[in-house]
């Protein structure tokens, strides 16, 4: 339990870092760190395959998408960064305060344990089995959404022939 707690606290710190980080690149790295820590937590909750998936796709692929997007946009000059970070500080220092307030409120609130779960027998199934035999519709859905995404990439990343503006 203590290990879980440590990782949970680290996750929140990484999330804070990614929200408050000065440059976009730091924010992206913060997101990647959050994602990596969450994949450790997922692993500790007995879900190794999902953990691997989260680690490779979210930490790897999405970070790559973000970094390439950021590199394609114009970097700010040094002066602008200083101005922006001053500006940001004004807007973002509330976040830790808000988090602490929410935390205290939750502790004080003490949600009652009136939650009744339907008595379901624990099932020891293999993930691949579940995914391919019971959730095949979702796999079909994944194929369709990847198709839509591919069409989207074709549309959004092609150069405009007319080159307007």
């Amino acid at each position: 339990m203590n290990i879980n707690l440590t990782f949970l606290i680290l996750t929140i710190i990484a999330a804070l870092w990614s929200v408050m980080g000065r440059s976009l690149l730091k924010a992206t790295i913060g997101l990647a760190a959050t994602s990596a820590l969450i994949s450790i937590l997922i692993f500790r909750l007995d879900s190794p395959l999902a953990a691997v998936f989260e680690l490779s796709v979210c930490t790897g692929l999405i970070t790559a998408v973000f970094v390439s997007t950021i590199s394609l946009t114009k970097p700010l000059t040094h002066k602008e960064i200083l101005q922006a970070s001053k500006d940001r500080f004004k807007r973002y220092w509330y976040l830790p305060v808000i988090l602490v307030v929410i935390g205290i409120a939750l502790v004080l609130l003490k949600v009652r344990q009136d939650f009744i779960m339907a008595p379901v027998p624990a099932l020891q199934q293999d993930v691949r089995d579940v995914l391919w035999n019971f959730r095949r519709l979702d796999i079909l859905g994944q194929v369709i959404i990847l198709l839509a995404g591919a069409l989207g990439v074709v549309i959004l990343f092609e150069e405009n022939k007319r080159n307007e503006r």
């Binding site: 929140i12 808000i98 624990a122 019971f134």
Partner: protein, 106 residues
């Protein structure tokens, strides 16, 4: 729900709510399109953790893992689409600032 899983649930639930707060705050306060997408990503991370937790407590980890994999695939497509749109906005206005998007009011 027995005492053991209740403790697991309340500990994780506490931090999941904090993670939600981080993402929501980022989404509300930011003026940068990329940061808005990062906020969405943080929210989806919190949801992922919640579903895995639900799977662990009900003893259906395999089902939860299947769901989470689908969520992750969809998340990537959404992130890529959003990044593409942000890039085009940058090409039009030379900035990622949401404040430059004020052509539609109300």
């Amino acid at each position: 729900m027995n005492a053991n899983s209740w403790q697991l649930f309340s500990t994780f639930g506490f931090f999941i709510i904090l993670l939600f707060a981080c993402g929501a705050y980022c989404l509300v306060v930011t003026r940068n399109m990329i940061r808005a997408i990062i906020g969405i990503e943080l929210l989806i991370k919190a949801v992922t953790l919640l579903i895995i937790l639900a799977g662990k407590i009900t003893g259906r980890t395999s089902l939860a893992q299947g769901l989470v994999m689908t969520i992750i695939v969809i998340e990537v497509v959404i992130a890529a689409t959003a990044a593409g749109i942000a890039l085009w906005v940058f090409r039009h206005t030379d900035s990622l600032d949401v404040r430059s998007l004020r052509s539609l009011k109300g």
